[in-house]
Amino acid sequence: MKARLHSHTDLGGFGVAETTTNSTATDAPAPSRRDFIHIAAGAAGAVGAAMVVWPFIDQMNPAADTLSFASIEVDLSSVAEGQQIQTLWRGKPMFIRHRTADEIARAEADDKAPDLKDPATDDSRLLQSNGQPGKREFLILLASCTHLGCVPTFAAGDYGGWFCPCHGSHYDTSGRIRKGPAPKNLVVAPYVYLSDTTIKIG
């Protein structure tokens, strides 16, 4: 009661709490100017603290130089048929595979296979990032198993494609998951053809 009397004094005697008979007025007095100042000061402090904290959080995000390596160009003419090269993009290993006619045929034949865990047609996995169709011969994938990120090996496993030695995921010649703990197909990297034989990844 004493505190409330003080707050009324602050308001210049607007309140009549000490004489009121209205119970709601006694239980919940009208917010005073001091309450407002407390809340406003607290809110300003919280916003200020958040503004100071944010740079300390955001500094951990990828830095400008890390982001500047975000795209690379690859010359496909050096990759012979049946050959696969591994390159690093954003520090992550990539597969650039020049598929043989047999691999393409197997991939297309399995477009409607019932055991596709993450159904996708072979054509959809060749699309460039601008929506144009890519070339059937060149499959551009992230070499990272969608289970826990190991690098799969080619020409192992039951489907003629990749096999992850860590926990036994099998991918077909289109990089689609067919068997094992991985939940998704190998991710197609975002790429576009700059010329007939050069692609830009990223």
Binding site: M60, N61, L88, G91, K92, A143, G149, C150, V151
Partner: protein, 480 residues
């Protein structure tokens, strides 16, 4: 708990300091005159051993940081330089690496001790929770530290664990990039892991002070689990606990030294002596031994649970396995603290300890490996025999690969037989995966079902009235 202070400053300088900063009084009251239950056994020496481990890791770690270079181009070589060129670097590096394992060994004994004797029950809930916080910080620190030598296991362990975070829906991927400071485990990741690995031990040190504070408020639990009721129940910390702790520490150090001097790499993985390479995955990625049980729990969830896919389910189970420890004081409904007087709890506890060891074993195995296989893989091949009639032949082998080889070899030897192979018949197999699932189920059942129900149904044995009585009865029984 410790009652009025018995510290009596004798010299003038002690009196002068005591009036200004009573730090000697605090030390005296906490570690000299502090009353400890007179029935404490050697399991109660691990607090001192753990303090020693923490200080050892901090001291050796500070030295190593003077020589270590946190850069992906130099990290591996700088650790090799410490081991080969830096004066006594081999010793200090070995103590630090082995010390991590010793730290976890001691903390696991300390935790099982707390579980068995009910040290988490009122009024020690906060003490227990602070201990859980310390354990969680230890796991984080150990994981960060294991990345620093930048060997193959360092690199791929970090990759797998950060990918685990990617399993969290919606925010997983941004958090992963934020943590790695890029799109993969790379130089920014190594730098921040080094910074945090240096920071966290001091956080552990701070929480340890709170842990000891909370301990000194409620007093130590004891094997009988009954409260201290009179001065007869206690002995002063010095010399009784001090000397006992030092003796136990000396024995612990013997084992520590055997590892440091004779087999410093026995607890590590050979692949970590190969420099980290983002293009080549080691054949098997496993964490250090002390995290294997949680790794087994992570991998045990291979099935979707409603909207939660198996990957996220595994992550939830792994963190849940630690989270459940935090709420343990409210899960165990028994009024009796010590399992010494709880016949059924004792049995379930024993199975729990075995399950934890078995989970650790599972974590180091390939999940598809058969723990038990009833018979061989078999396949029936129908073929045309030399006399033109149909005949069958059954092949059997221990693995499907061997079976395929056997069938192929027979077909090549009998080209005209036109054999038609039926489907392969698989024998019953009990795999590491199934075993991990059973063990994981028991791990959670122990905390979430057994302890809550048992406290209500079990009839405990008679608990001694006082600690002194428990001790005297024990010595009388031994004398008879």
């Amino acid at each position: 708990m410790s009652g009025p202070s018995t510290y009596d400053p004798k010299t003038g300088i002690e009196k002068w300091l005591d009036a200004r900063l009573p730090i000697i009084r605090l030390a005296h009251d906490s570690f000299v005159s502090y009353p400890t239950p007179r029935n404490l056994n050697y399991f109660w020496t691990f607090g001192a051993i753990l303090t020693f481990c923490l200080v050892t890791q901090i001291v050796t770690g500070i030295v190593l940081a003077m020589h270590y270079v946190p850069s992906i181009d130099h990290a591996f070589a700088s650790v090799q330089r410490i081991e080969r060129d830096v004066p006594y670097g081999w010793l200090i590096q070995n103590i630090h690496a082995v010390g991590a394992s010793m730290f976890f060994l001691a903390v696991y004994i300390h935790m099982f001790r707390g579980l068995y004797y009910g040290s988490y029950k009122a009024p020690r809930e906060v003490l227990w929770i602070l201990g859980c916080v310390i354990y969680l910080l230890m796991v984080g620190t150990a994981f960060l530290g294991y990345t620093l030598p930048w060997g193959q296991m360092s690199f791929w362990g970090a990759t797998v664990i950060t990918n685990i975070l990617g399993a969290v829906p919606v925010v997983g991927e941004p958090i992963k990039q934020w943590l790695m400071g890029g799109f993969s485990i790379d130089n920014p990741t190594l730098n921040r892991f080094f910074s945090l690995h240096y920071l966290l031990p001091f956080v552990i040190f701070g929480v340890t002070i709170l842990h000891v504070w909370a301990l000194h408020v409620s007093g130590q639990n004891n094997p009988a689990g009954v409260d201290v009721k009179s001065a007869d129940d206690t002995v002063p910390f010095t010399p009784y606990a001090t000397v006992k702790d030092l003796f136990a520490l000396a024995v612990f150090l013997l084992m520590f030294a055997v590892f440091v001097f004779y087999m410093p790499d026995a607890l590590g993985h050979a692949d970590n002596y190969i420099p980290g390479n983002p293009l080549v995955t080691p054949p098997e990625i496993v964490p250090e031994w002390y995290l294997l049980p949680f790794y087994a729990i992570l991998r045990a969830i291979t099935f979707n649970i409603g909207p939660i896919d198996s990957k996220l389910g595994g992550v939830i189970a792994m963190f849940g396995a630690i989270a459940v420890l935090f709420v343990l004081p409210w899960l165990d409904t028994s009024k009796v603290r010590s399992m010494r007087y709880r016949p059924w709890a004792q049995r379930f506890f024993l199975v729990f300890v075995v399950a934890c060891f078995a989970l650790g074993w599972c974590g180091g195995q390939n999940p598809a490996k058969a723990v038990y296989q009833a018979g061989d893989y078999s396949q029936v091949v129908t073929y045309k025999a030399a006399d033109g009639t149909e005949a069958t032949r059954t092949f059997a082998a221990h693995t499907p690969e061997e079976l395929a080889i056997a069938v192929r070899a027979w077909e090549q030897d009998n080209p005209g037989a036109e054999g038609k192979a039926a489907a392969v018949v698989e024998p019953f197999k009990f795999t590491v995966e199934t075993f991990s699932q059973l063990l994981t189920a028991y791990y959670f059942a122990f905390f979430l079902i057994i302890l809550p129900v048992l406290g209500l149904r079990e009839t405990p044995r008679r608990v001694p009235d006082t600690i002194a009585k428990a001790v005297l009865d024990g010595s009388k029984a031994a004398a008879e």
